[in-house]
Structures are given as structure tokens and as C-alpha cells.
Amino acid sequence: MDAQSGDALGRPVSAPSRPAAPPAFHRPVRPDWWLSGRYRSPSTQGTRAYLLFMLRELSSVVVALFLVFYLVQIARLSSGQGVYDAFVATLRSPVVVLFHLIALASAIYHAVTWWQLNGVVMVVRLGSSTVPPRQLVLGGYVLWAIASIAVCLILVGF
């Protein structure tokens, strides 16, 4: 006799179910869209901006690969002097030098884009005034220089 559990003929009814959410629609894009001119817009520098964007994103992966190499270098310290010295000797090999050149270019590109980005995304207030974006960007470069000199002095020696 429960009015909630059956229809007029006494058949059980289920609560009206919400329609399942349709799968999200993604406009199909070619995986090489960042090389093509189809996405050119007046607000960007054309296709080059997308290529540079992709290089910026991938620079972080190259930096991580260098850090893996560097971690192996430091791990060799616990294997004794002979093993460590042999690893440091491989720094002289052309392939390793090339790897470091690519890593350095990536790290510099990452740093420059990161400091430039700070001027766009960060708002720093000092009292009632806002620090101008140009000074934030400059501050990043100054910090970069100070940190580099400090680490260099400690690592290479005074």
C-alpha cells in the first residue's frame, strides 16, 4: 500500500534516474598542431609561439634528465673514489658534453621564460602599492645571478 513503491497497477517503479553524463567532447586536434599554422591568432606571433611553447614545456623534461645524470654522479660518491673518478672522467666525452650543452640551453630557456612569466602571473603588494611587473621580472634575474654566483663559489671554491 506504499504509494512510493509502485505505480497505479502496483508494479514497482524505480526512482527517476539522472541521465548519465555524456562523455566529454574534445575537438579533434592533430598531434602536430603546434607545428601547423591552423591555430594562428592575431594575439600570438603565429606558429612560432606554439613551437616555443612546446619547447618551453619540454625544457623541464630535459632539465629533469640532467638532474637524473647529476644524481647518478652524486650516487657514485658512495661507491668509492675509483668509481666516482671514472664517472667524472666521462664528463670529458663528446656525447656527455653535447648532452650538457642541450641541458644548459634548456635550463636557460626555462629560467628566462620563468622570470618573464613572473611579471605576468605574480602580483606583489608592498603596503598600498603594487610592485611593477618589470621590477618583478628584473628581481628574478637578479636572484638567478646571486644564486648562481653563490653556488659557484661553494662548488668551485673561493
Binding site: A75, W144, L155
Partner: protein, 117 residues
Amino acid sequence: MRNVRSLEPFWWFLFAGGGTVAALLVTVHISVNLLVGVGLLGTDTLSYGRLSGLVANPIVKLYLLALFALPFFHAAHRLRGTIRDLGLHADRVVGFLCYSTAIVGSVWALAVLLGVP
């Protein structure tokens, strides 16, 4: 598998910290290695005695842990976004794999640093 998106602010914080660490500190470490590699600095610059002495310092260990771990998470976050931008819509799985790799790398760094006497 935990939905990685529910931790978005956490990943973003690590991404931002890692980007700053990578921008501040990585170029100088690459440069010193490179200068030794091309012979402008002697291999004694990175000598076993000097380096193990430096890494034995707990503050240096902490510094190196940040130098390794944070940029790992930064790269994981950017790689996750790049894979999505390339048109692969499997964000949960890709995010899980990217951040897991960063966690493994960070634990490895911790183990290495604790292993150097």
C-alpha cells in the same frame, strides 16, 4: 588509483616551487659540469674529497634534495599538461604515471643523499 585531480593545488605548489628551483639553481650546476667537461676547469674541481665533504653536510643534503625533487615534480606537471595538449585525453592515468615517477625520483634522491656518508 586516487584521482590525481583532487590534489591539484598540491601538484601546482610543487610545480611552482620546482620551476623556481630549476630557474635559480640548475644552470650553475650544468655549467660547472660543462666547464670540467671541456677542460676549462680541472677535474680536481669536482674531486672526490671536495664533493664528498660538501655532500656530508646536512644543509647541503637538504639543498640537494630540493634541487632534485622539486624540478622532478615540475617536469611531471608540465609533461602531464603537454600530453593532454597533444590530444591524449587520459589525464587521470597520465597524471598518476607522471607524479609517481617524480615520487620515485625524489625517494631515490633521498636514498642517495642519505647513503653518502
